[in-house]
Symmetry: C2
């Protein structure tokens, strides 16, 4: 039972990870559509827009894979996967509204296409639909898991909003934030999958999902420094533009010269976006090894995720869960 990470030469594609559950992912998409149905045209229209941008269904993929590790996934796993994605969508709608983001996955956000007001209520609609559907199904364990993750996400978001001086944000603060904001839902996605097919592996996969989520978010924050707008579907450098401090910057703050530190402080104190300034700060972070530091930390989380899977029975599903780690760390979008 080694904790070292058997990294493959080629990063697995999402398609390869999804292959064992491809048909059931189709069901997830149908379930999503069924659950958000409303008899009100504007809600239908916004739902349609959201379902178009729904992206890669990474979370439902985890739910379906987790439900399959003992070879007997419950049919309701697809519905649970849809509900996890729905909670994720509700969160994105509110996050974009709070951050005034204009683009998400290359498409206009609800707040930019409709209004800030409509985003708030649409997020509430999606979340309360998810809860109503869970209540209808009557599976209290799934509800508990998802409700606790959702509540943790709101506390995480509040941590971010409540940071008075962003540059005082420590690595511990950052980890608490991404654990709440991202890892909690990926963990819940895995745990809920186990409830629907592999109950003995619930705590193991909850741990796996949490580590995977940490690795996933560190990689996301790295991409904000390294990726292009074309591959991200939103402008690169968004975090610096929105004065969000992530691991690459946190890691190098103590290493900066006074002049460099002043450059960073000026960026964080200004309310206007100066693209040159963002490039200069990104350059400082890179030069001091901030990207490398974050990459290493991401690898550690990836290794913990692998370790959590050590006792899983061999199957295409568990192989795909292993591959999901490499995908989370190495993906380019």
């Amino acid at each position: 039972m080694s904790a070292s990470w058997p990294r493959s030469a080629v990063t697995p594609s999402l398609g390869e990870i999804q292959a064992p559950v491809k048909d059931r992912l189709g069901q997830v998409a149908l379930e999503l559509r069924r659950i958000v149905v409303a008899d009100f045209p504007m809600i239908e229209q916004i739902s349609e827009h959201l379902l178009l941008m729904k992206g890669k269904l990474f979370r439902p993929t985890l739910t379906l894979l987790a439900s399959s590790i003992e070879g007997r996934p419950a049919p309701r796993a697809a519905t649970f996967g849809a509900l996890v994605e729905l909670v994720h969508l509700a969160t994105l709608v509110h996050d974009d509204s709070v951050d005034h983001s204009a683009l998400r996955r290359g498409m206009p956000t609800v707040n930019s296409l409709f209004s800030h007001q409509i985003s708030v209520i649409m997020g509430d609609f999606l979340y309360s639909r998810a809860v109503a559907e869970l209540a209808r199904l009557g599976d209290v364990e799934v509800l508990r898991t998802l409700a606790s993750a959702t509540n943790e996400m709101t506390v995480g978001e509040m941590r971010q909003l409540g940071a008075v001086d962003a540059l005082q944000f420590s690595e511990d603060d950052y980890e608490a934030l991404i654990r709440a904001k991202t890892a909690s839902l990926l963990s819940a996605a895995c745990e809920i999958g186990c409830i629907a097919g592999a109950p003995d592996f619930r705590s193991v996969l909850s741990r796996y999902g949490r580590c995977l989520g940490m690795a996933f978010q560190v990689a996301d924050d790295l991409l904000d420094y390294t990726a292009t707008e074309a591959s991200m579907g939103k402008p690169a450098g968004s975090d610096l533009r929105e004065h969000k401090v992530t691991l690459p910057l946190i890691a190098v703050l103590p290493k900066m010269t006074q002049a460099e530190r002043r450059e960073v402080e000026t960026l964080f104190a200004s309310s206007n976006t100066d693209e040159d300034q963002i490039s200069r700060v990104a350059g400082i972070v890179t030069e001091h090894g901030g990207l490398e530091y974050a990459r290493n930390r991401g690898e550690q989380f990836a290794e913990e995720a692998h370790a959590a899977l050590a006792d899983l029975p061999e199957s295409t599903a568990s192989a795909a869960l292993h591959d999901a780690i490499a995908y989370a760390v190495d993906r380019s979008q």
Copy 2:
């Protein structure tokens, strides 16, 4: 079994209605505090502010009274009452944020005291805490009732935001709106009370709560025309100021002269607040009998609420539920 409404000479006070469940309302307040606890200072601070403005606990009063109509209320009714109030608070926080309201019950709103962003996330925190607590208790019926009411409320709010030409809003549209926005939660408050002590009366009290909620909201919309800022805790005329069309205006729109109609259209087309214009439109509504029309419609809903209570066993709780109708219709704040 008469459907006529035995109106008493003196409007009962809220204190009189709450008398049969006074001690248990104290428990509701304690439960509210217990449920919103978080280990994050800013959330604590905002919760504290919300609990101070929590107002009259009208919805938990209904839950407790409903749980008592057969004389054997379940102890958990107080927790359920707190959860109904929590959902109500979450909705208020988002509504104030969507409407950019500055005052609520005479106190600054979360959006004005903190920020719009914090309101969105705080509403999410409160709602997800309520769901997490319901999931912990594992009472699926209560969860179903509350989730369905919450979802209905979001659809109602969307109806309001989606009204492109507010002056085209019909009386049917208005009733659909207030049924979703207000009556659904009052109905759920009563129904949940029955689940915790009087299950045979569940559908009867659900109907009572819905009619009571309709009467309550019509009275609220009337107060916006007639009350003073001192008694309301927010400026009178807010609805006209926010371009919200309520029953008094809807009722008289067809009776207006062309000049009067133009006056109304000018108000609804302008983005600046002209207090004289608001007074003039309020005057037009009053002269054409809009307030009287709404008062009569409120009385009809009150009568339906009374009719729903016809078969209730006699008790202090059922007397208080009768009194709650007069309170809802005649209250001055």
